[in-house]
């Protein structure tokens, strides 16, 4: 993947709003990720300065929570539920089918940045397993042959 130029000035409105608020770190990271799609490494020092934290503290939080990413994500995020119900309804074969279709593994992003495939410990739709979530849309009782139709909807 080619490194892309990042417009760090987009950080300003977020950081101005939370200047000096240590406790707002997670919210700030959520907003930064909302803006860039991930948390660019270049942003970490700026965030630390604005919130009066050490860069290591910011980095520690980014890497602790599974929601935050240090690399660019796809335009669309697919989450395959790995909860107990979905597990006994054989999610594993569904996951394998998605991995095969997209040519990526869980945690990876397609080269064209169209899809990221994320692990999900449970999506809370347990009576409809196996369940996948694409962006904010849930799909229940999915069988591998339905995947193509679903994925087509997301560019």
């Amino acid at each position: 993947m080619k490194a892309r130029a990042i417009d760090l000035s987009k950080l300003d409105p977020i950081l101005t709003k939370h200047e000096g608020q240590k406790e707002a770190l997670i919210s700030v990271l959520q907003e930064v990720q909302g803006e860039f799609g991930y948390v660019p490494e270049e942003a970490i020092e700026r965030i630390a300065d604005a919130l009066k934290l050490f860069p290591s503290q910011v980095y520690g939080v980014v890497t602790f929570y599974s929601q935050f990413y240090l690399t660019p994500r796809g335009r669309n995020t697919i989450r395959v539920c790995r909860g107990t119900d979905c597990h006994v309804q054989r999610t594993t074969s569904l996951l394998a089918a998605i991995e095969q279709t997209l040519g990526i593994k869980e945690g990876e992003t397609t080269d064209d940045l169209r899809f990221s495939l994320e692990p999900a410990t449970c999506l809370g739709k347990c009576s409809l397993g196996p369940v996948i979530m694409v962006n904010r849309d849930y799909y229940g009782k999915i069988v591998p042959r339905e995947l193509e139709t679903i994925l087509k909807r997301y560019e």
Binding site: V61, F64, Q67, T84, D85, S127
Partner: protein, 559 residues
């Protein structure tokens, strides 16, 4: 709407709302939460179009509600006033439902629920066995009201409990009532709620905080999501009463990152309550003020643990810390803090309105009230249910749950999620309680019920839980961090047919050590599903180890 400045104004607003509602009007209640994963959005659009096309807007209300519970039959709708229950409907059925049922009152046979065993049909909600076996108290609004409309909540006695405590009860009396009701924490541990509140009220420190835990991390659990998406005001009202009782001015709701709709509905509910003056300064004209902030989680299981949640709200890595000091003494920013599960708060308005004695009459000797359960797995009627605590597990699975899916045979039920147990058939007549099976700890936990049939492998299930623990262990304390990896490795080699004779003793020993020495409840409980799977299904483990055979034909290397 204008701000309500006195309890009488709330009552007159309620009267106005109720008067405007016509109970005889046709209303189609569509589940727009869980059912959305199965096409409810298209069904709603089809209804709206058809109603518009036939110019029935004045006569028919299409209401988007929260979860009706019967998720296995999604999408579901209920038609009022007759209480007709239709299931597994599609957008193509809608024109016929409007012309036949809404306009002529005819019931469409193919959309009616039929018992899979007997074929008997049940056109009305109240007769359907899935609903009949339940006691819906906390869920009394869920599936009935539009959660984005505060008027619906107010019409069904919403915020009357808040008004009652502010006008007729002291904080001390409020705590005493909750204590006497026997309400226990619904996140899993069942700790007496009233006692917790008393600690916080008595603690020195100012300001005090309260937190509503909607981190809902147990795989298999979806009751908190359903509650927040279907009836968010009941949680807000419970938090308000708790805040009044403990002298708290600021509360947080910590919501799991994967629940965007719950967050959206909460935001709407909070802003509507603020607009009416039910949240904010001088609530209902009293000197009580309270504000609620939403904190979105960032995808980590351990943040359901109470000290980890504190760290996370403070913007830090969500890792637990040793207790004492308990959050009641030293919580958020070192101040006294009360943490309850969202379901716990939602019970509170009911206790205030209907009384501690009524509440205590439900449940068992030591655990009172009803419990929300997330019913899933190889079962016919998967969904969200509410039952009195103390109900036999068999009744949940075979009466409400309609038995094993696809005519399969029951093998085990996993009760309580990662901290819970794998329960074999011989304990099916045990009652569901906080800790009812001999020496196995608190089995009801957060209320996850995952049913397993003969096609489920108990090594594979245990491995699933170990892999969850391995993924979610925060890494702070070594027994949990190393134990989860070690347990997963051993289970993986058993599932590959590479198990050793001594592995079972090793797993049991390791599991017990992890539970005894871990810092928080995660390590303190995650070996449970593994230990009980070995205890009750030892022959299956031995088949994997000695005969290199997976009796359920699940473990790929052994099939």
């Amino acid at each position: 709407m204008e701000k309500i400045r006195a309890p009488e104004e709330l009552e007159s607003l309620r009267e106005t709302i109720v008067q405007k509602m016509d109970p005889a009007k046709t209303c189609v209640r569509i589940c727009m939460t869980g059912c959305r994963a199965y096409g409810a959005g298209e069904v709603r659009d089809a209804f709206n179009e058809e109603i518009k096309r036939r110019r029935l807007e004045e006569k028919v209300e299409i209401r988007e509600t929260g979860c009706h519970g019967f998720c296995a039959r999604a999408p579901v709708i209920v038609i009022d006033p007759q209480d007709i229950f239709y299931q597994q409907i599609t957008a193509e059925d809608v024109a016929e439902i409007v012309s036949q049922t809404l306009l002529k009152g005819n019931i469409i046979d193919r959309l009616v629920y039929a018992d899979p065993a007997t074929g008997e049909k049940f056109p009305f909600t109240s007769d359907v066995p899935f609903y009949k076996g339940q006691t819906k108290n906390v869920l009394h609004n869920c599936g009935r009201i539009d959660p984005r409309n505060i008027s619906h909540y107010i019409a069904r006695n919403g915020y009357a409990a808040l008004s009652k405590v502010l006008t007729t009860m002291t904080p001390e009396q409020t705590i005493e009532t909750v204590e006497r009701s026997g309400l226990g924490g619904r996140g899993g541990a069942g700790f007496p709620t009233g006692r917790k509140w008393r600690f916080v009220r008595a603690a020195r420190g100012d300001p005090k905080y309260l937190i509503s835990n909607a981190s809902e991390g147990d795989p298999g659990s979806f009751k908190d999501r359903a509650l927040l998406e279907g009836d968010p005001h009941s949680v807000l009202e419970g938090m308000l009463i708790a805040a009044y009782a403990m002298g708290v001015k600021v509360g947080y709701i910590y919501v799991k990152a994967e629940y965007p709709m719950a967050v959206e509905r909460l935001k709407i509910a909070i802003s509507q309550a603020e607009e009416l003056g039910l949240l904010g300064e001088s609530i209902l004209g009293s000197d009580f003020s309270f504000e609620i902030r939403i904190k979105e989680g960032a995808g980590t299981y351990v943040c359901g643990e109470e000290t980890a949640i504190l760290a996370s709200i403070e913007g830090k890595r969500g890792m637990p810390r040793p207790r004492p000091p308990f959050p009641a003494q030293s919580g958020l920013w070192g101040k006294p803090t009360n943490i309850n599960n969202v379901e716990t708060y939602a019970n509170v308005p009911l206790i205030i309105l209907r009384g501690a004695d009524w509440y205590a009459s439900l449940g068992t000797e030591r655990s009172k009230g009803t419990k929300l359960l997330s019913l899933a797995g190889k079962i016919n009627n998967a969904g969200l249910i509410e039952v009195p605590i103390g109900i036999p597990i068999r009744e949940i699975i075979f009466d409400i749950g309609g038995g094993i899916a696809e005519g399969g045979r029951f093998k085990a039920v996993q009760v309580g999620g990662p901290p819970g147990d794998c329960v074999p058939e011989r304990y099916l007549d045990s009652v569901l309680d906080y800790g009812s099976l001999e020496g196995t700890g608190s089995i009801m936990g957060s209320g996850v019920i995952t049913v397993l049939d003969e096609n489920s492998c108990m090594v594979d299930v245990a491995r699933h839980f170990a892999s969850f623990a391995r993924y979610e262990s925060c890494g702070f304390c070594s027994p949990c961090r190393l134990g989860s990896k070690e347990m997963l490795d051993i289970l993986t080699r058993i599932s590959r047919g590479e198990g050793r004779e001594e592995d079972l003793e090793l797993l049991v020993d390791l599991g017990k050590q992890v539970m005894a020495t871990s810092l928080c409840g995660l390590g303190g409980s995650y070996p449970n599903p593994v230990l009980t799977a070995i205890k009750y299904f030892r022959d299956e483990y031995e088949a994997h180890i000695k005969e290199k055979r997976c009796p359920a034909a699940v473990c790929e290397a052994l099939v």
